[in-house]
Every structure is written in structure tokens, then in C-alpha cells.
């Protein structure tokens, strides 16, 4: 890679938008080229300034209330527009039956083991996403608010039958802000809470049934990104509305600790 190419790729590089091969090329060039170092430094300095949560504007409560109270009006006008009838088209019932039949057929032909694996995965994805959403809606995001991993980790002792790994990645833009106890898959789990700009990442940790290190699997549900991986006898589930690239970067940081 030459300097011009490095210049062209520096932005997707710091944004985690390059594939692994390209990212390695940029990384190597930056390591060896003293001329391109200042470019990386400039981007990093800028990123540090832009990470300041005070740059985020919060919606005023008055506007929030105004919009929520305006929505029923929108409902009634929508009803007028469509004549107030809830119409089920004549063809929709047979169509739905045919679709259901097709799904059943499809399932029968699929590998049995895969279905079980996948359905467990999907059920867990649903659980971790709804737990993530609950943690944001209710006032129960944190049981132990602390940016210090050495405060958060001992807090779990005595509350859980296992001791989850607790790490802070503030240097990489993922700040540990605390932890709480949660309940996933019928048991108590550790939830670590990280902040990326104004976005929250919930990292659920519990002892793994498989007990082997596996590459991360990604899921998407209701606009939330979910990543799942195993390491050192623990299952990790990271959920957030940060983009998939950033969540992947977060998971990579965590997995590097293996």
C-alpha cells in the first residue's frame, strides 16, 4: 500500500468499515510510514473531541410530550383516509395457509441439529434484545454504577455463582459505566453496561454450555445489533443500537482478552 491509498482508506479504516485484509494493509502501512502517522494522529484527535457526550442534543421534554399527544390525531386522520375499515383481502387467508405449509415443509427438510441450535439462538436473541430494551426504558440500567472495573467485578461476587470477566475499553471509545444482575435463559446473569457516544451496549455474560471459544455470530432484531461469542467457559451476548461495525470492534476487543 502506498501513501495515496493509505490517505484514501484512513477514514474507512478508523470507522471499522474495511474488510480484515484491507485493514491489515492500512495498519502495516501506518506502522512503517512516518509521513502518514500525522494523518492517523489527526483523525484520532478529532475522534476524541467528537466523542464528547456534551455534543449530543437531547430532545426537550415539551417536544416529546407534544409529539406523543399528536400521534392519536394522526391515527384518527389515517382512519379517515382509509375509510375506517379494517379490510382483510379475500386472498389473504389461503395465502397465509400456503405460506405456513411452505414453512413447515422447509423445516422438515432442514438439518435437525441446526434447527435446535438456531431456535435456541433465536430465542436467546429475543431475550437479550428485550432485556436490553427494558434496561433502557426502566430506571434499572445499573445496579452498580462505576467506571472502575475493580469496583464492578467484586460487586458480582456473592451475587452470582460465577465470576464474570470485567474489562473497560474506554481507550477505544467503549466506556464501562457499570453493571447489574439480569435474568436470561432461566438463570441469573451478569450484565455489563458500556457507553459508545450516547449509545448503550449491554454485555450479558453467563457460563457457557459449550465451553469452547467460537467466532462471533451476529444477529439483527428490531433495529438492534446482537453479537454472540464464547470464550473461556463463558457465553457473551452484546446488544446495542450502535452500528454493526462498532459492535464488532467492541467484540473484537473483548475477545482479544482470551
Amino acid at each position: 500500500m502506498n501513501c495515496q491509498e493509505c490517505h484514501d482508506f484512513i477514514d474507512p479504516y478508523i470507522d471499522n468499515e474495511l474488510d480484515v485484509a484491507a485493514a491489515i494493509l492500512v495498519q502495516q502501512h501506518l506502522r512503517d510510514c512516518s509521513q502518514c502517522q500525522p494523518l492517523l494522529e489527526s483523525r484520532k484527535a478529532l475522534r476524541a473531541l467528537l466523542n464528547n457526550p456534551r455534543l449530543q442534543f437531547e430532545v426537550p421534554d415539551s417536544l416529546r410530550r407534544k409529539i406523543q399527544s399528536a400521534l392519536p390525531a394522526a391515527t384518527s386522520s389515517a382512519r379517515q383516509r382509509f375509510g375506517g375499515r379494517s379490510v382483510i383481502p379475500w386472498f389473504s387467508v389461503p395465502l397465509a395457509l400456503a405460506a405456513a405449509f411452505a414453512v413447515v415443509l422447509g423445516l422438515v427438510f432442514l438439518n435437525q441439529g441446526k434447527i435446535l441450535d438456531r431456535s435456541r439462538g433465536n430465542a436467546l436473541v429475543e431475550e437479550v434484545v428485550s432485556s436490553h430494551v427494558r434496561s433502557l426504558l426502566a430506571t434499572h440500567l445499573l445496579d452498580v454504577p462505576s467506571t472502575d472495573q475493580h469496583t464492578v467485578k467484586p460487586w458480582f461476587d456473592g451475587k452470582l455463582k460465577f465470576s464474570p470477566p470485567v474489562l473497560d475499553f474506554a481507550d477505544h471509545g467503549f466506556r464501562l459505566i457499570g453493571g447489574r444482575l439480569d435474568y436470561i435463559n432461566g438463570r441469573e446473569v451478569a450484565a455489563l453496561v458500556y457507553q459508545r457516544n450516547k449509545h448503550i451496549i449491554n454485555l450479558f455474560i453467563f457460563p457457557s454450555e459449550a465451553g469452547r471459544t467460537e467466532a462471533a455470530q451476529s444477529f439483527e432484531k428490531d433495529g438492534y445489533n446482537v453479537l454472540h461469542w464464547d470464550r473461556d467457559g463463558f457465553e457473551f451476548w452484546a446488544v446495542s443500537d450502535v452500528n454493526a461495525g462498532d459492535l464488532r470492534a467492541f467484540a473484537d476487543l473483548e475477545m482479544k482478552q482470551a
Partner: protein, 178 residues
């Protein structure tokens, strides 16, 4: 077909929690609170009207922010015509500044106010790309959906936005020292 109750409930679950993101984008694009509030309100009513065309599995944040962005751009465009501003054609200006970058130490101590002013000074095309990436945390693909340009354009606008922002902040710092 979804009934009204169900539609309203889905909208509450998917779109209402995104109001901060919507407001943040509108506030950065319009550069003042009053206009931003109008834009967010208009966008939510539009989003509710178009919600029937929202399909499960679509990226909700990109979908909503696209509506907010278009609402803001329409308002900004109308204002531009009224004020007879000369549109700045930044896209054709592809010549990179050949001068060496000022050292990063110059901008490290910039205040939040300075950063805010510098972002607001960027041309709107650059500002929206920067805000969507750095302050809303969107991926290039999502940004390309929201502003309706190819990923390559997103990449080059971001690069130029960051370059300009960096120069504004380092110059400002020099002025502060004088």
C-alpha cells in the same frame, strides 16, 4: 393487514425511542432549537403516515433519520431559494489541500463550544455525513441510505468533512494563542 391499535403500538415500540436521535440530527442540520423542534414534529407525523410502508426487518433508525433528513433539507432548500443564496458546489472541488497537516496537539484542548461552532461552520453536505457517523454512530451503508448517495460518496464526504473540521479547529487554536 395491521389494525390501527397494532400500528400505534409498533410505532411506539420502534420509533418513539429514537426521538433523541431524530432531534440530534435535526438540531445539527437546522442549527437552532426552534427549527429543529418543528422538523422533528413534522418528521414524526410523516413517519406515522408512512409507517404502513415500513417493513419488518428494515433498519428503523436509518428509516426514521432519512425522513428527518429529507424534511430538514426541504426546509433548508426552501429557505435558500428565498434568501437567494448561491449554492456552493463542494462536490466538484476535488483538489486536496497539499499543505502538511497542522500537528494534532493544536486541537487536543479545543473546548466543546469550539467544536460545536466548527461543526456548524461545515457545509451542510459534509456536516450531515459527519454528524450521522460521529454523533449518531451510523455505518457507511446506513448513511448512504439516509442521504441517498453511494457509499463511495459517503466515504469521500466524511474524509473531507474531517479534514475541514480539523483545519478549522487548528486555525482557531492558533488565533486563540495570538
Amino acid at each position: 393487514m395491521m389494525n390501527d391499535e397494532h400500528t400505534r403500538a409498533r410505532f411506539e415500540t420502534l420509533m418513539v425511542p429514537l426521538m433523541n436521535d431524530a432531534y440530534n440530527l435535526a438540531r445539527w442540520l437546522m442549527r437552532n432549537q426552534e427549527d429543529a423542534e418543528d422538523m422533528v414534529q413534522e418528521s414524526y407525523l410523516k413517519a406515522f403516515r408512512f409507517f404502513a410502508s415500513f417493513h419488518e426487518g428494515t433498519n428503523c433508525r436509518a428509516w426514521l433519520l432519512q425522513i428527518v433528513r429529507n424534511t430538514c433539507c426541504t426546509a433548508l432548500g426552501a429557505r435558500k431559494v428565498r434568501q437567494k443564496e448561491v449554492p456552493i458546489d463542494q462536490e466538484n472541488d476535488q483538489v486536496e489541500d497539499p499543505s502538511p497537516l497542522p500537528p494534532a496537539s493544536l486541537i487536543k484542548k479545543a473546548t466543546v463550544e469550539a467544536v460545536r461552532e466548527a461543526i456548524e461552520a461545515l457545509p451542510v453536505d459534509f456536516r450531515e455525513a459527519l454528524v450521522l457517523r460521529e454523533l449518531e454512530g451510523l455505518s457507511y451503508k446506513e448513511i448512504s441510505e439516509v442521504i441517498g448517495v453511494p457509499m463511495g460518496t459517503v466515504m469521500s464526504r466524511l474524509a473531507r468533512a474531517r479534514h475541514q473540521l480539523y483545519l478549522i479547529l487548528s486555525e482557531r487554536k492558533e488565533h486563540d494563542h495570538l
